[in-house]
Symmetry: C2
Subunit: 339 residues, 2 copies
């Protein structure tokens, strides 16, 4: 049995440290794992006092905490912060993964520059698994770790996405598309046009250009793109989802008979909301780093933190980084030698 050591940044997030520590306790009670609680020891102990714990808890004291509005570059100088210390534990092989609900830019900076990229990749990337019309998931990589990516970086995103689909979503030999503005080869911007022939050279199950609509219709298992585009699409989608529900509500309020209908439909709407609730997924992973870094939503409560730790465990028990390395050697490296 693996005994994973998960570094939990207890000082990051809107409800830190209370909900973060509480989430860590829930995870300890439910899952088999070691959690390193990193933060102001006194504050952590205050929260822990409320629980009867069956085991000793590992606390690593930190003097400094990154604010939700700190600039990502400043974070790299604040070496006494809980987040920086957590990153360093990964780098020094004293922890196997990092979970933080701190500000995304700061967690990204620590992931990219403190933990660092895997030796075989140039750029880590953020992957999300979005629900599609077929009732399955589509992996979108990168959704915000990189802007102005180069073709070589998109190959990294492809192997990250491929491994995510195989290991976490259990999709064998996943189909891969590159996000563009037209199906045919030759359509797209310079980055797409330059990356397309490289992807054809790899041994990945590359199916050509994907369009915006393909993100939600299930035509591809994995879609890769520059993080600028991916981030905008993701945030627009979240916002559109919320807006659509608001718009339906508005129309319902206008019609008394619809109000009754809405009441009767409530269980269905709730089930649906749960399905598309990006927070239910328990954090977004930055992958391609020396060890996985899980970015949890800033508004994460204890349950969300517990879910994040659950997904972190999934990455670790699948030996995600080893599989990614195998896949890189099998699918990408032969192409790089040709190029």
């Amino acid at each position: 049995m693996d005994n994973f050591r998960i570094a939990l940044d207890c000082m990051g997030g809107d409800y830190a440290p209370d909900e973060i520590v509480k989430g860590g306790v829930l995870a300890l009670e439910e899952f088999d794992c070691d959690i390193l609680f990193i933060g102001k020891e006194e504050l952590i102990r205050q929260v822990l006092k409320k629980y009867k714990l069956r085991q000793d808890v590992n606390i690593i004291n930190s003097k400094d905490s990154i604010e939700m509005n700190s600039s990502p570059s400043s974070v790299l100088k604040r070496k006494n912060s809980s987040l920086y210390i957590a990153g360093k534990l990964l780098k020094e092989n004293k922890a196997d993964a990092l979970v933080s609900a701190g500000n995304t830019g700061a967690v990204l900076a620590v992931g990219k520059f403190v933990v660092g990229a895997c030796d075989f990749l140039e750029r880590p990337a953020i992957a999300v698994a979005l629900p599609n019309k077929l009732g399955k998931k589509t992996v979108l990589v990168d959704v915000g770790a990189n802007v102005d990516s180069k073709p070589r970086h998109l190959l990294d995103f492809a192997v990250i996405g491929h491994t995510y689909a195989e290991e976490i979503l259990d999709i064998k030999n996943p189909t891969i598309g590159i996000l563009s503005i037209g199906e045919e080869e030759g359509k797209g911007n310079d980055l797409v046009k330059d990356t397309f022939p490289l992807l054809k050279e790899t041994k990945l199950n590359f199916k050509g250009n994907a369009e915006g609509r393909d993100i939600y219709n299930g035509n591809f298992n994995v879609i890769i793109c520059d993080g600028f585009v991916g981030n905008i699409v993701l945030k627009a989608s979240e916002s559109l989802g919320i807006s659509l529900i608001e718009m339906i509500k508005e129309e319902v309020i206008k019609r008394p008979v619809s109000k009754l209908g809405a009441l009767l439909m409530k269980p269905a709407i709730n089930a649906f909301k749960k399905k598309v609730d990006f927070e239910e997924y328990g954090g977004t992973p930055l992958l391609g780093t020396q060890k996985p870094v899980i970015i949890t939503h800033g508004r994460a409560n204890a349950k969300a933190i517990k879910n994040s730790i659950k997904i972190t465990k999934a990455f670790l028990s699948h030996h995600f980084n080893e599989r990614m390395k195998d896949n890189f050697e099998k699918y990408i490296q032969p192409a790089l030698k040709v190029l």
Copy 2:
């Protein structure tokens, strides 16, 4: 009273020529305008025979028609096609606007290279008005006419969007944002970082970076972006909208009580669908060309064509191109002199 001459490409679209001609007839009956029916005269006359027309109809015969899967570049060589002839009528000032449900790439090519850009702009762009959470509209420019745009092109998109918001949506001094991946100045890719200071120099009501979520939350009246990003966000949004409705349906089917609820909610859902149905808007305009070019959905039926002609009339009666020129001189030109 203006007497606008609208060139209608009768051979473009999945239901051409029947539904297109029929849509033109509906427009003639409802609105005050001249329609130039361009296509195979014999086919057009066959459709017209079914109607008692109160007036003579202008038909311009064309020997060739662009297929829905023709490559955009081939279109520019097919000078006898209805679409090319329509574009040429605009160029030669023999028509005031063009409506086509033909393949988007082909219509774009004709708009950009046959009709051509306004003298004061470098790049025409496609603008859409998307419904936002505030029950208003947000204008997004460009959604697909340009890839790998330069900062100067984004200034063109800004004046196109500003004029659209003022003239068509009746929003005075509209707020303008540039689509990026973070609110603060300095966040984004190279294009955003290079365009941001130029936008600050203009006299537009520039409010800084917009994020993906801002497209649907109503925080900006106009959001500008490269057409690669805009196209992907738009197509992802359309597809997500459809998927969400499918997912709700699926949850409803599982629950008998919800089925009754769904029945009672139907009027609200239909009103909502109408609100977010991109086809209801009656076509997407390519603006910044010598004369407006309205791209109607390939699946357009007669009603959609009629709606496209209606929106075309709105652009013409607002003297859109003259207003755009005024705005360019007032808001953009002083900045260009400084730069």
